[in-house]
């Protein structure tokens, strides 16, 4: 419990500290690497431990539940170990940058989020950190925000990963309701139950979409190469130990629950293989070192996903070894690419040649990393590739062939990145090249050294790291046999063949690359083009619908409002079979009928009259007519209020109208008038129909009866309407007075404003 909590919160708390300290003393930036280094040592010294929980939001079933089993611990070591190197490297890479403190702080936030995500035993807690990594990477990718391309790439990365995250959230919620808990350990303890649940397929698909987006699986892979807009230390971190590995982590983590499901296996293997091929082809098109490496990351991620989908203990072991190996060499090679860029001013593979003598140390780091990547003995990359082939040979179908071709492409990438720039005659570069300071070289050299160390002595990692992690993927203990030399087997033959094919391709690279790059259709049909088009479509559709709805025409607003309100009321009335006729009882007196007719005629006159003055008069007649009608219905107080208000209203109306162009006609077109008339008649008919239906119901008069009985004895009033206003419903009257007072005030302010000519 203490260990994960300490790890995550130490990293989180360090964020503001780093921001403030580095801002004040930029020279302290390299010291920030001490944080991940210390966490790395701590993780190394702490043995794996089971899940532990502290309460957080019990009402929503969310807890601070952590676990630090083999898989989590492996990730923690990668995140902090490589993190330490990256922090050191970044502080040198961005030395003197005015925004260095922000960069280091966000990098630290990113690391903290990663740690939280892999240590969380609660799916919602994991999701929170998951989204935080997306946000932190957004800030990192967009670090050089003055460039529009950096902004766009950051936006794309965030939209794709958060979009996938939403699918993941839905998947998590379904998983939670299927399993009855959000705790990963509890879910995995239920074995196959979740996968067998009716929601099982939905859960698998949604979780996979989220993980695929994060791990840049086809067709959601496009954001990853675009993320190269980030400064190189970010790319090195993002691609090796963090961000993209998070999706792989989640698939591996939940694999025990789903590993026997054909859907799960098919999805992982299918999409993984598709991703491998896509990445391999596109890697061979590029000349930008970072882009070449980025596509090779896509290949590695596809490989990992496909391997998780293979239900086999050796596959689980292979996942862990490939993951570890890839993290080591990819971070190393990215940092090398960054050094080349930094020291020569370019990272175009066609312009970099013969640097070995000028940058010998960089060359060594590059060579060691590349040999591991190409899978040559005695590097740990060789161990990984052998395992890969061993597993994939057992899988029917095209997978072994795909794996071989893709690995050949990796040989080419290794050559382009690490051999080509250093060999041959020296080519001119924008800057005069030389080896960078040790702070930039230390990390790549160390990582490359680990690559060879683990290759010669694989037992160093087999028992302590690989076995427990592989066990977590399988959901049961397993034994990892890591050996460098398997003897002369078909696997070795495949390795040699791969190498040969790769070398041949590498030698032909200067012709293959332009040929592939000239295939324009690859740019136009891919998901990246689709994303751009989708974004444009969102903008266009939203503008279209907004202009349609929010037309700016008040007439249209009023018309739609009335049509919706009374159309809906009519539908509800008819749906409930509500049409009814209340009858004429009590029979109206002749004077009442005449009054009703008078009011109706006045109202219609207000429509028919064209001149505003006539319309005002007609409205006045209606008002007074209603007043008299009130009087005839026993509403004396009401009638007198109506008269008073009507008089003041007409006076006001005339006073204001006198200042307006009252001769201006009602400028509706005949067509508009027809439509308006139809709407007016419709609304009137519906209103009358609803009113008739209401009046046809029996009336419950207990409130007026009670009021009649209580007025004198309890409220001491004889005019019941008055008693209601000042006593029974005094709060209404309070509000009414407030309205009048505020209206007078607001109108006076507005009046002064117009008078003052400030309108």
């Amino acid at each position: 419990m203490l260990f994960p909590t300490l790890l995550v919160f130490a990293a989180l708390l360090a964020v503001p500290v780093i921001a403030l300290a580095v801002r004040r003393w930029p020279a302290l930036a390299p010291a920030s690497a001490l944080l991940p280094a210390a966490l790395f040592v701590l993780a190394l010294l702490t043995p794996p431990e089971g899940p532990a929980t502290a309460p957080w939001i019990p009402s929503l079933n969310v807890a601070f539940a952590w676990h630090a089993d083999g898989l989590a611990r492996l990730f923690v070591l990668l995140i902090t170990g490589i993190g330490a190197g990256i922090f050191l490297y970044a502080s040198a890479y961005l030395h003197g940058h005015p925004q260095l403190h922000r960069f280091m702080a966000v990098l630290c936030l990113f690391m903290a989020s990663m740690l939280g995500a892999v240590l969380a035993d609660d799916l919602l807690l994991l999701f929170i950190f998951w989204e935080m990594t997306s946000l932190a990477s957004f800030m990192l990718i967009g670090f050089e925000a003055e460039r529009a391309s950096a902004r766009k790439s950051a936006q794309q990365g965030l939209l794709v990963t958060v979009g996938g995250g939403l699918a993941l959230l839905a998947g998590i919620l379904l998983l939670g309701s299927a399993a009855g808990t959000f705790r990963i350990s509890a879910i995995l303890a239920q074995g196959e139950a979740v996968a067998q649940h009716a929601l099982g397929p939905w859960i698998m698909v949604l979780v996979a979409i989220g993980a695929f987006a994060k791990s840049a699986q086809w067709p959601q892979h496009m954001w990853l190469p675009n993320a190269m807009a980030a400064p190189t230390p970010v790319s090195a971190y993002l691609h090796s130990a963090t961000m993209v590995k998070l999706g792989v982590y989640l698939l591996a983590r939940l694999n025990p629950a789903f590993q026997l499901e054909p859907l799960w296996q098919a999805m992982l293997i299918g999409i993984g293989a598709m991703t491998m091929v896509t990445g391999a082809v596109l890697a061979l098109r590029e000349t930008d070192l970072k882009l070449v490496l980025a596509w090779s990351t896509v290949v590695a991620l596809g490989t990992l996903v496909a391997l998780i989908g293979v239900e086999d203990p050796r596959a689980a072991t292979a996942v862990i070894v490939v993951l570890l190996v890839h993290a080591l060499y990819k971070a190393c090679l990215f940092m090398v690419a960054g050094i080349l860029d930094h020291e020569t001013g370019t990272r175009d593979a066609t312009r970099l040649r013969g640097l070995q003598r000028l940058m010998p140390m960089t060359g060594i780091a590059a060579a060691l990393g590349a040999l591991s990547m190409a899978g040559l003995p005695p590097f740990v990359g060789f161990v990984a590739k052998e395992m890969l082939y061993e597993v994939k040979l057992d899988v029917p179908g095209l997978l072994p062939l795909v794996a071989m071709l893709v690995n050949a492409a990796m040989v080419v990438v290794a050559g382009v990145v690490a051999a080509r720039p250093f060999l041959g005659p020296l080519a001119p570069t924008p800057r005069k090249p030389h080896d960078p300071p040790l702070s930039m070289l230390a990390a790549p050299l160390a990582l490359a050294g680990l690559g060879i160390l683990f290759g010669i002595a694989p037992w160093l990692i087999a028992e302590g790291l690989v076995e427990p992690a592989a066990a977590a993927i399988l959901g049961r203990p397993t034994e990892a046999k890591l050996v460098l030399w398997h003897g002369f087997t078909i696997v070795l033959f495949l390795s040699v063949a791969t190498l040969g094919l790769g070398l041949a391709l590498y030698l032909a690279w200067s012709r293959v690359q332009p040929a592939l790059a000239s295939i324009r259709v690859l740019d136009e049909v891919g998901p990246n083009a689709l994303y751009t088009r989708w974004l444009g479509a969102v903008q266009a559709v939203s503008a279209w619908q907004t202009a349609l709805i929010q037309s700016g025409s008040m007439r249209r607003y009023v018309a739609i409002s009335f049509a919706i309100i009374f159309g809906g009321a009519a539908a509800a009335l008819l749906a409930g079979g509500g049409l009814a006729w209340p009858g004429l009882a009590p029979a109206p007196g002749a004077h009442q009928a005449a009054l009703v007719a008078l009011v109706a005629i006045g109202a219609v006159a207000a429509c028919v009259a064209r001149a505003l003055v006539a319309q005002v008069m007609a409205v006045g007649i209606v008002g007074f007519g209603i007043g008299i009608l009130f009087l005839s219905l026993g509403a004396a107080d009401l009638a007198f209020t109506q008269f008073t208000v009507e008089v003041i209203a007409i006076v006001l109306l005339v006073a204001v109208l006198a200042r307006l162009p009252f001769r201006a006609p009602d400028a509706r077109t005949p067509r508009a008038r027809r439509w308006d008339a139809a709407l007016a008649v419709g609304v009137g008919v519906i209103g009358a129909a609803v009113m008739l239906a209401v009046l046809a119901e029996p009336f419950d008069a207990r409130i007026p009866e009670w009021m009649g009985a209580a007025a004198v004895p309890e409220a001491k009033g004889r005019n019941i309407v008055n008693v209601i206003l000042v006593d029974f419903r005094a709060l209404d009257t309070l509000g009414e007075i407030a309205v009048i007072a505020i209206a007078a005030m607001a109108a006076a302010v507005l009046f002064r404003r117009v008078k003052g000519g400030r309108a």
Partner: protein
């Protein structure tokens, strides 16, 4: 009885503030004191009300001691008490922020009494247990809002004011017609009494039609599709503090009314109600967020977001399980804080960058990183990113959708949150990241102005973070409120007593 006063205080305090500051017309300093004291008092009173409601359950107070349903009853359940408390917070935040900029002019035009009047109407609407009385509070709010909208003297405000006034008056009058008709069907206006009487009405069609009129009246106030025209036509023209309190409270009163009336009175009265609510919720979410995606002016973007977010709240009401209602409650509380804050930040961004138009902004992240962080907190919360308040609201709403058999609504809500993020990113990329436009920039936000503008913003951001990180009390309160709303008996019993009158 102590609780009687507790319920009445949130209405009396702003009333008193309104009357006093109107009487002190022209004496700005004294008016400020009145406003600040009133805001503080309202905060205290509402906190006491929340505490009392937590302790006693639903509390009711018969005004003038006339027994329900004959007089007017004030009722405070957890939802109402929470809404009053959040209103008090908004009152305080906008009152402070308004002092930062252009204050003399607004004060000369009646800022203090109008603000108090608005709060008066809002609190009344939350606490009343009487349908006609609710109409009165709506009108109090409306007239105060009319006055506030045109404060400051922008030309476009008058256009906005006319549309706002006509469409809102249309909506409240429809509401009034609905009130009259419902009285005609049941003979009562008391909400708890209505809950008992409506099922006894024989004519389902008439009940349905009246329910629709009320739904439309409230819906127009809440700015739901397709009755939201007045909102994007007006809100962007208001001054920043005015827009903030409008965005926070006015539409939410409409949502509150829908929750109150449709979880209490029209429960199961018509089969179409959940479907219409669900459809309206989805359409509101989508059309609102697309409107936000279409625009390039911060205030217009934020205005459309209000609409979109109203849709999320309606999802909760449409599903109407206790969990869904809890989601709606949590979402409303979160949304009020976040939305007001965004309008306040927008004002500070204009002050720093010189414009609300994204084309004229740029480079703010370099210039003023604190402003960036203060924008990011509510913006990301609005988009529902964890671990901010919006995430939990969204989570509960979506969870209730998945469990309540409305997976399609949950899917729409998820998709819309991605578009929300998209439009917030637009602001971030243009205003904060892009190179600043050519020409001399306005001076940095500093001194007292900075304190007055960013103080409330920081406070509201802290509330957002608190809801996000120390979620338990808020979640527990929302769940309890959801239970209260779904199990109507507590409310009815508190108002009418055990037996029917």
């Amino acid at each position: 009885m102590r609780t009687d006063w507790l319920i009445a205080l949130p209405i009396l305090i702003p009333l008193l503030a309104c009357a006093l500051s109107a009487a002190l017309w022209g004496r700005a300093r004294a008016q400020r004191v009145v406003t600040f004291v009133a805001a503080a008092a309202l905060l205290l009173a509402s906190a006491a009300l929340v505490a009392a409601t937590l302790e006693h359950g639903v509390i009711a107070s018969q005004m003038g001691d006339w027994p329900a349903p004959f007089g007017i009853t004030l009722v405070s359940d957890l939802l109402a008490a929470a809404m009053v408390a959040i209103t008090a917070l908004m009152y305080a935040a906008t009152a402070v922020y308004a002092q930062a900029e252009d204050v003399e002019r607004r004060e000369a035009e009646g800022w203090h009494p109008l603000l108090a009047a608005l709060v008066f109407g809002v609190c009344g609407a939350f606490l009343t247990g009487d349908l006609f009385n609710l109409y009165v509070w709506f009108e109090v709010m409306l007239i105060a809002a009319f006055g506030m909208l045109v404060l400051g003297g922008g030309r476009e405000q008058l256009d906005a004011g006319v549309k706002y006034a006509v469409l809102n008056l249309l909506a409240t009058t429809v509401f009034l017609i609905g009130v009259g008709m419902l009285y005609g069907l049941t003979g009562t206006l008391n909400l708890a009494d209505l809950a008992r009487r409506v099922p006894e009405v024989g004519n389902d069609g008439a009940v349905g039609a009246v329910a629709f009129l009320l739904l439309a009246g409230f819906g127009a106030k809440a700015a739901v599709f397709p009755l939201f025209f007045w909102l994007p036509a007006a809100y962007h023209t208001a001054a920043a503090p005015v827009a903030a309190i409008f965005a926070a409270m006015l539409t939410k009163v409409g949502v509150y009314a829908i929750i109150r009336v449709f979880s209490l009175v029209f429960v199961g009265s018509s089969e179409w109600i959940p479907w219409v609510l669900g459809g309206v919720a989805a359409a509101t979410m989508v059309t609102g967020v697309l409107g936000a995606a279409a625009h390039w002016d911060i205030r217009r973007i934020l205005s459309f977001h209000i609409i979109s977010q109203i849709g999320y709240m309606l999802v909760g009401i449409a599903i109407a399980t206790p969990l869904a209602l809890a989601g709606a409650v949590l979402y409303i509380v979160h949304h009020i804080v976040v939305k007001a804050n965004l309008f306040l930040v927008a004002g500070a961004m204009r002050r720093t960058g010189g414009s609300f138009a994204l084309a004229h902004l740029g480079g703010l992240w370099r210039r003023d990183p604190w402003l960036g962080i203060l924008f990011a907190v509510p913006a990301l919360s609005l988009a529902g990113l964890p671990p901010l308040s919006g995430f939990w609201g969204k989570l509960v709403v979506i969870q209730s959708g998945l469990e309540g058999g409305a997976a399609w609504l949950a899917a729409v809500a998820l998709a819309v949150s991605l578009l929300t993020l998209y439009s917030m990113l637009k602001i971030w990329m243009e205003a904060f990241w892009k190179e600043p436009p050519a020409g001399e920039a306005p001076p940095d936000l500093g001194g007292t102005t900075r304190l007055l503008m960013l103080g409330p913003v920081v406070a509201l951001a802290l509330v957002t973070l608190t809801i996000g990180l120390w979620t338990e009390p808020f979640a527990a309160l929302a769940l309890a409120a959801g239970e209260q709303l779904a199990g109507r008996e507590a409310y009815i019993a508190a108002v009418l007593g055990g037996g029917a009158p």
